[in-house]
């Protein structure tokens, strides 16, 4: 394999990682601050993609579609938090899993009822379509570079929000001691709604960005949800920095594993079985990575709580 191809694959891994980060960031915030396992996070991702596709189809503007995805997912998140999630904070995790699983079914069938059973059309805006040539002669899709940039900007924004703003202080306080911050006169209900809506909005934005190069269909959020859980377990629950490092690790492992393992097996096996064995092993790699991280650091790379 040539050096250039390897660089291109590393870019692909990075880009996949950044896409994962957008989903995982919201999930880890909600899990860290509220101690809530939200299986319906993938549904919010789907709502974002559908809102973007519908808006882009009606107005012809991708940017308006992105804005709609953010607004629709955040609104859905706030609504769900006030109607359902609020009643679950004092229950154990099994109740939360059951209730949020029910939400997945409601959102999926609700979306089908509104938009029908066939995938929707959402495409990259013309200005961002096609490949650009990077130094060294690598041709790389401009849209994927944009996703990397947007993701890193959002990571920076979240980092500043958590470390430099009043809301960030409250979120961090909520993570370490929720009774105490309630006692200090902070409206904990409002804080929770805001955090949940923020996480939902991020998931929705990720859904819209990803939807442009994938299929906008019912159930698109669930595969992403599983990976996002892997990411936050690796990164450490509640840590934005952990989510970023974990996402990039998972993205790189998944992409490079899928490319390099079959190549390695081809050195001592015939091509057909090398492909079969290599791809089978590659699909386990991120879970092996997760197991190794958990053995070495049971709370994840940047997890604070035991």
């Amino acid at each position: 394999m040539s050096f250039l191809l390897l660089i291109e694959q590393i870019l692909n891994g990075l880009q996949f990682g950044v896409m994962l980060f957008l989903t995982a960031a919201g999930l880890t915030l909600v899990f860290g601050v509220m101690g809530l396992i939200n299986l319906a996070h993938g549904s919010l991702f789907m709502i974002g993609a559908f809102a973007a596709a519908a808006t882009a189809a009606a107005t012809g503007s991708f940017v308006l579609g992105l804005a709609a995805s953010l607004a629709a997912a955040a609104a859905a998140g706030a609504l769900v938090e006030m109607l359902v999630i609020r009643r679950l904070y004092n229950r154990d995790h099994l109740d939360q899993v059951l209730a949020t699983f029910a939400l997945i079914l409601i959102f999926s069938e609700g979306t089908r009822w509104l938009f029908g059973s066939f995938p929707l059309y959402l495409n990259i805006p013309l200005a961002l379509s096609g490949p650009v040539t990077l130094p060294g002669g690598i041709e790389y899709p401009l849209y994927r570079l944009t996703i990397i940039a947007v993701g890193l900007l959002i990571a920076l924004g979240l980092f500043l929000l958590i470390s430099r703003t009043r809301l960030g202080v409250q979120i961090r306080a909520g993570e370490s001691d929720r009774e105490m911050i309630a006692a200090l006169g902070i409206d904990i209900n409002r804080l929770y709604t805001v955090v949940f809506a923020l996480g939902a909005g991020l998931a929705g934005l990720a859904g819209a960005l990803v939807g442009a190069i994938q299929s906008v269909q019912v159930g698109m959020g669930e595969p992403v949800l599983i990976l996002a859980f892997v990411v936050i377990v690796i990164g450490g629950i509640g840590s934005i920095k952990g989510a970023l490092i974990g996402s990039v690790l998972v993205g790189l492992t998944d992409t490079l594993g899928g490319v390099l393992l079959p190549e390695t097996f081809k050195l001592f096996m015939d091509p057909a079985s090398a492909t079969a064995v290599g791809s089978a092993l590659a699909s386990m790699l991120i879970y092996i990575l997760m197991a190794v991280v958990l053995i070495v650091r049971p709370t994840g790379l940047y997890g604070a709580r035991a």
Binding site: M1, S2, L4, L5, E8, Q9, N12, G13, Q15, F16, M19, S108, E109, R112, S117, F118, P119, L120, Y121, N123, I124, S129, G130, P131, E139, P141, Y143, R144, V210, A212, I213, Q214, S215, V216, Q217, V218, G219, M220, P223, T255, G258, V259, P262, P271, A272, T275, A276, S279, A280, A282, S283
Partner: protein, 380 residues
């Protein structure tokens, strides 16, 4: 008393005017996917099937429809209930090969007919064939074999091939390689349900391939095509119809234009039955039919043709009537091989734009009167 008598009279009159010699009603149990990610396919099969039933206006056919949610365990439960409590005569409807493998062998063993409107796993075409199992669509490998044959005739000599790593994906690559005579520039198994193909597209770019063959059904194909179109790689793409059906094309948009794909059906096949089908489907449901809808439509018409000739309770006679396949298939010529799988023409289509709608048009025949590779292993 008076009322019952007149009702009876009316019923008899209706039966006579409908020309029904055999009054024994037939109960059909349809298990198909109506919710979740793959629902578009099941809905098309159901709508095509019910359109044919409606057009026939035959009061002796009753259809029970249930949603399997694309889950084998639910499909098995539904089949058990339909066989044991609903007492159906014929089962049909299953889309996915893994669900078909869970349901079909036990249903046929319990003396029911199973008519597949879609899934055609090789196990049921070869050693596992059964006198009561008919496949009205295709054996799984067929469309891929046609793609391989088309690649030869188009002069493609170095294909890069990819499919998901699961049984139907392995069948797909095997089917393509069975007919294709050129070299392979690369062979990749992707993950089932994978949505990002950047790594695979980079490998295609780096290889010296002259074409790409892929089997990625449903959402996977949409993702691949959009990303491939945006990558700047412009090698010709060949695939089976599953990534280019009417339900998917609108979501892919211009990225699919010009792609060659293989199918046993298209809306422009020139025969009266097909013209009537396309027109009436569009009038009834407000959308163009897909190949899945055509398969559902043919399945129902096959059942109706057998009902006109034999009583379903007389299994041997009914089986013969099914095997004769004397109905006007929307595919034109249609007959069953010795293993009850179709022998049919498979076409090459090209994705085109008609007004605002993306659809397919036929370029030519890829394989004429094509039978599957497993018929020889079937002993019945």
């Amino acid at each position: 008393m008076m009322k019952t008598k007149s009702l009876l009279l009316a019923a008899t009159a209706a039966a006579m005017t409908a020309g029904m010699a055999l009054a024994e009603p037939v109960k059909v149990g349809m298990i198909t996917t109506l919710s979740g990610g793959g629902a578009g396919l099941g809905i098309d099969v159901r709508d095509g099937f019910m359109l044919a039933v409606k057009q026939a206006g035959n009061p002796d056919i009753e259809v029970v429809i249930e949603d399997d949610q694309r889950k084998p365990d639910i499909a098995v439960q539904l089949a058990d209930r339909m066989i044991q409590s609903d007492d159906v005569d014929i089962l049909t409807g299953i889309i996915w090969s893994n669900l078909a493998m869970a349901v079909v062998p036990s249903a046929t063993a319990q003396g029911k007919f199973y008519l597949s409107p879609n899934a055609g796993p090789s196990a049921l075409a070869g050693k596992g064939c059964h006198p009561n199992y008919f496949n009205v669509a295709w054996q799984n490998d067929n469309l891929h074999e046609a793609a391989g044959a088309y690649a030869n005739s188009a002069g493609l000599k170095n294909s890069f091939i990819l499919a998901p790593n699961y049984p139907a994906g392995q069948d797909a690559l095997a089917g393509y390689k069975r007919m294709y005579e050129g070299e392979l520039a690369g062979e990749i198994y992707t993950k089932l349900g994978q949505t990002d193909y950047a790594a695979e597209i980079a490998q295609i770019r780096a290889s010296d391939a002259d074409s790409v063959f892929f089997f990625l059904p449903g959402g996977m194909g949409i993702s691949f095509l959009k990303q491939y179109a945006d990558s700047g790689v412009d090698l010709p793409v060949v695939g089976p119809a599953f990534s280019f059906d009417q339900g998917i094309l609108q979501a892919v948009g211009a990225a699919a234009l010009g792609v060659k794909n293989t199918s046993q059906w298209n809306k422009d096949i020139d025969n009266a039955a097909n013209k009537a089908f396309v027109e009436s489907f569009e009038a009834e449901y407000g959308r163009l039919p897909s190949l899945y809808a055509s398969q559902g439509f043919d399945t129902a018409n096959l059942i109706l043709s057998a009902m006109a000739k034999a009583d379903v309770k007389d299994q041997d006679a009914f089986r013969e009537a099914l095997r004769a396949a004397e109905f006007d298939s929307v595919r034109g010529e249609f007959k069953f091989g010795p293993n009850h799988h179709p022998i049919q023409d498979i076409y090459v289509r090209e994705v085109v734009q008609e007004g605002d709608v993306f659809t397919n048009k036929i370029l030519g025949v890829a394989l004429e009167d094509h039978a599957d590779a497993y018929a020889g292993e079937c002993k019945m």
